[in-house]
């Protein structure tokens, strides 16, 4: 299973949503959101996607997760009450990538002379007192 870049594209908005309109996108590439390739970031919508992020970004197809052809919706309830926002429907697109941002970071360090496999390189950054916040 290849690592994937994920694009959540808004395919419909039922009701009033202050952030998203049809065609808005959020793009993920493990371990982050790519800001340059994303529109608005609604925290609630991101949380709704949270449980599915890890399997999808690591290449498990949406069908196997019970998401049909790759559809997910936000948390907002389709209710006609004043505090309700519109429900946003996203289409999930998976694009296989050869290198994640972490791979690129490791490559960059190797080019700067910090050599070794991934674990060896990471070990160089391990703190002496990992339990202390500062």
């Amino acid at each position: 299973m290849p690592n994937c870049k994920l694009i959540l594209e808004v395919v419909d908005v039922k009701g009033f949503c202050p952030f998203y309109k049809k065609g808005s996108k959020i793009t993920f590439c493990e371990p982050a959101i790519i800001k340059e390739e994303s529109d608005e970031l609604c925290y609630g919508a991101l949380l709704s996607f949270g449980p599915f992020y890890r399997p999808l970004v690591r290449g498990i197809p949406p069908e196997e997760l019970g998401l049909g052809d790759g559809y997910i919706s936000c948390h907002s309830a389709p209710l006609v009450i004043p505090e309700a926002h519109g429900t946003v429907f996203f289409k999930i697109k998976q694009i296989p990538v050869e290198k994640t941002p972490e791979d690129l970071w490791i490559n960059d360090l190797e080019e700067k002379g910090i050599l070794g496999d991934t674990e060896t390189i990471k070990r160089k950054f391990w703190p002496e007192n990992p339990d202390q916040p500062y």
């Binding site: 049909g68 559809y71 919706s73 948390h75």
Partner: protein
């Protein structure tokens, strides 16, 4: 400080859900004397892992500490009291996904001091 019991109650199901029926509850209770809370497994119907970590569960800590407002007219609806907030699980529902979505009503129940 007295905290609230928080209840997530399935109030509507669009399509079919293999886990929840209307009226099913997830009950979250504060641990007395500690700033943590637990899911009451005896009073809870089921816990679907697909709602863990979503907006649905992010309401719970807020509602645990929320206090009913004395000035309801001056406040926004979600600040006035203990809910209910309405939120749904991430499933889209038929015909796009086999599982339907569940709409939860999330609210706080004040506990007696002592």
């Amino acid at each position: 400080m007295v905290r609230n019991k928080v209840i997530m109650e399935a109030s509507e199901i669009n399509g079919t859900c293999p886990i929840y029926e209307i009226g099913d509850k997830i009950v979250i209770e504060p641990v007395p004397g500690k700033n943590v809370s637990t899911i009451n497994l005896k009073e809870t119907s089921a816990i679907c892992t697909r709602i863990l970590g979503t907006s649905l569960t992010s309401y719970t800590l807020f509602l645990e500490y929320a206090k009913p407002s004395q000035e309801d007219d001056d406040k926004l609806p979600w600040q006035t009291a203990l809910g209910p907030n309405h939120s749904k699980c991430p499933m889209v529902g038929p015909p796009y996904t086999e599982c339907g979505y569940v709409l939860f009503k999330v609210y706080g129940v004040p506990q007696k001091e002592g």
